[in-house]
């Protein structure tokens, strides 16, 4: 009996490793190795012909310098668009998440379901729909034009691209916000009211700080895909609104300048890392004060 127990215990010690092995091996081969491969490419020089390119690994950091000098405009633009999209998304999502969390009563589940609904329509088709809505002779643009908000057209402007970025990631802002708001103990808000806090002050001092985890999570979920996106700029923008994702995509698949495209990919990831870390730090320190 003792022997059986110890052997089964031994088996259970190896068992988890056997269970995680296939999945981890897969990710090692098709997630980690590709990144190493991409990094090597970013430090390679390109030789051979256009039809038969030959990459030679050479610790060539020149690709990075070139990425900055040639595409600094797109790099800055991607950051600005993604930041704008994140801020706008937060401003639009917060009231909705607030209403769903606190004021929707028995319609809560229905509203949550509706928020997720656009997720079931192919992302490209959704973006195409915005192309229809933003059309130059469409109702929406004529309305804005009459109000003097746009100058004749919306499509091909930065606002159309930012609008698309906001739309395509709204769900990922609303849901984390909702989750963090829903968790707030209503008695805390009651208490602040009992202590003669105004509604606004209660919001600023109680609700907002307690919903910060949702704000942080949502912002990252919007910022990361937005900064690397190229569909919105492609469908809704013009040559004046190209983002870093457009450049990476074009360099990889059209120009086939792999080292440049690989270097740009790492620049993009560095941007995301810096953005996320500085954001977390800014909010983190504010939280401490």
């Amino acid at each position: 009996m003792a022997g059986v127990a110890s052997s089964s215990r031994q088996r259970s010690r190896i068992a988890p490793y056997l269970m995680i092995l296939p999945g981890l091996a897969y990710l090692a081969i098709f997630f980690v190795v590709p990144f190493i491969s991409l990094f090597r490419t970013s430090l390679s020089t390109m030789g051979g012909s256009v039809y038969l390119p030959k990459l030679t690994f050479a610790w060539d950091f020149g690709n990075y310098g070139q990425a900055f000098t040639l595409y600094h405009e797109q790099i800055v633009r991607s950051l600005v668009y993604a930041l704008a999209a994140t801020v706008i998304s937060l401003l639009l999502s917060y009231p909705l998440a607030y209403v769903i969390a606190f004021k929707s009563g028995r319609y809560k589940n229905l509203l949550l379901g509706l928020v997720v609904l656009p997720f079931f329509v192919t992302f490209l088709v959704r973006t195409l729909a915005w192309k229809t809505i933003f059309a130059d002779d469409g109702f929406f643009v004529r309305l804005l034009d009459t109000l003097g908000l746009v100058d004749g057209r919306l499509l091909s402007t930065p606002w159309a691209v930012i609008g698309g970025l906001v739309y395509n990631s709204m769900t990922f802002m609303i849901l984390p916000l909702y989750v963090s708001l829903e968790k707030i103990d209503p008695r805390l808000i009651e208490a602040s009211k009992d202590l003669y806090s105004s509604a606004f002050r209660a919001f600023r001092k109680v609700i907002l700080p307690l919903s910060l985890p949702g704000v942080i999570a949502g912002s990252m979920l919007v910022f990361i895909p937005a900064v690397g996106d190229f569909i919105n700029a492609d469908y809704l923008g013009s040559t004046q609104t190209t983002m870093i994702g457009n450049v990476i995509q074009k360099q990889f698949l059209v120009v086939k300048d792999y080292p440049a495209a690989a270097a740009l990919s790492f620049v993009l990831m560095a941007m995301i890392l810096v953005g996320v870390l500085s954001y977390a730090r800014a909010l983190g320190t504010e939280d401490l004060v």
């Binding site: 098709f30 991409l38 009231p95 997720f119 729909a129």
Partner: protein
Amino acid sequence: MTAPAAVAESLEKAGAARRGLRGSWGFRGNGRFGDLALRIVAGLVMLYIFLPIFVIVLFSFNKPAGKFNYTWQGFTLENWLNPFKYPALTKALQMSLTVAAVSTAIALVLGTLLAIALVRQRFRGSKTVETFLVLPLTAPEVVMGASLLTLFLDLGWATGFATIIIAHVAFQISFIAMTVRARVRGFDWTLEDASLDLGAGPARTFFKVTLPLIVPGIVAAGMLSFALSLDDFIITYFVSGSTVTYPLFVNAAVKAAVPPQIDVLATAILLVSLILLAVGTLYRRKRDI
């Protein structure tokens, strides 16, 4: 890919939160005017979320004058009567469904094993594995696509159906592992011990006790990751070669001709997802009672 994963995670948490705290609270002293304004803003945001969906459904009934289904010309049922009018579009949709089915099946096995190992056993290195699993969900899609492409180029593999499957499984594993883990956490695993103590063998215990416990979580994760695969454009774009999936067809159509059948199929996918969602909700509600 990042974002939908987060949706699943948040829905998970939202579900948990909802189960914990039923009902909603209207805070007193919020001011009737402020309350109304808040509701109006939330309503407008909801409208914004739905606008493109309306446009897609509406334009599936459009009778476009030229090659592009961008401006409203007149109502027709013709598109719905001939949803498969364009063989290339139909083939692309079939390809997407095949890719989604195959990749989801593979990723479910690998991801579920990871999830169970992580929930069941506290083994050395499990925290590291958990952190590692988050990485594929935070990597920008354009970089993931690019890195896989460089790997395939390095290996000299021709891109096509097989490489699409490889890429989809790579982004689905983490997603499935995280979703299943979130669902099966908190189950009473001593039931397994009870079954073993009562003389059932390990195999019998697995099929009669373990599997029934985790199946709902696996089904949910499978459905969501099927949707992820179906919707993926960016990564697929890099590794598809000459294979065309539904999103790739849409992207090519933007440059040549956008038939209304694109909207018909998008609406159909939406309807099917809604029905599945409703069935799933009803099933769960029944089980809860």
